[in-house]
Subunit: 157 residues, 2 copies
């Protein structure tokens, strides 16, 4: 129970029963990272049926709401480096979810657009994302969910 040492042992090597995480839990970065990983973990599970990782969803979502967006614009918006986007775009094009069309004003760039099947997939995927949001926000009140997003924006914007 108490495990009281006999008076004054050198106490050479104490053991830890319950880990004290109170210090880390007071740090914003620690909590933000844990929360992000928790949400993203659920997100990955729900997007698995569509064979979309979070980054694929982000890319397709930006193309959905910005038809004709270029690779360069995707990169700077999402913080992806151009060489790392190439493979993703190629894969999405190979799956016939997106199509490249010539940019109307810049011969170097290609505008990215959803194909009909890409549009259909994203309608379902965004519905799933909305359901997931409602679920996670279910642990919060609607007001808390809005507050949380507002405060997170204040941190990174």
């Amino acid at each position: 129970m108490m495990n009281v040492p006999a008076r004054k042992t050198p106490s050479p090597a104490p053991a830890v029963d319950a880990v004290d995480t109170s210090y880390l839990e007071g740090l914003l970065g620690y909590n933000a990272r844990r929360a992000a990983l928790a949400v993203i973990e659920v997100f990955m599970e729900r997007m698995a049926p569509y064979d979309l990782r979070p980054v694929d969803f982000s890319v397709l979502s930006l193309i959905t709401h910005n038809p004709g967006i270029t690779s360069r614009q995707l990169c700077s918006t999402l913080g992806i480096l151009p060489p790392n986007l190439v493979g993703m775009i190629n894969a999405l094009e190979k799956r016939e979810l997106i199509a490249r069309k010539p940019h109307p004003r810049d011969g170097r760039a290609m505008g990215l657009h959803l194909t009909p099947s890409g549009l259909k997939l994203m309608r379902d995927a965004e519905r799933t994302a909305a359901a997931l949001e409602a679920e996670v926000s279910g642990r919060l009140s609607p007001t808390e969910a809005k507050t949380l997003i507002r405060l997170l924006k204040k941190v990174y914007l």
Copy 2:
């Protein structure tokens, strides 16, 4: 001949001037990840003088506040896989920031402890972390900072 109005061009490839991110910005996961990355980026800069990555700081901080903690306990607390912790522990031991002592009750395990120089480093590093917290929280009110951490905990706990 005349039934193709000039107004109704096929609009073959629109261009995007300003990227619309409003959809993604409504998603909790997107905002949590962006905020976490922003905070961690500053954290990395401030910890560079100590040659500590965020994960090193987390490990040393847990050892600081839990003398005798085992590798296994570190792994389960921080969500690190055992094989990936080995190298970190070895490196910290080689820098003489931590020392392994035999676990008092389990011959398989080793208790981890700060060395005097490790203790000194962590006093400085935790002071730096506290200053950084104050700075980031400076973009929020003290109440907002507390609210943010409370809501983040609700999301991942």
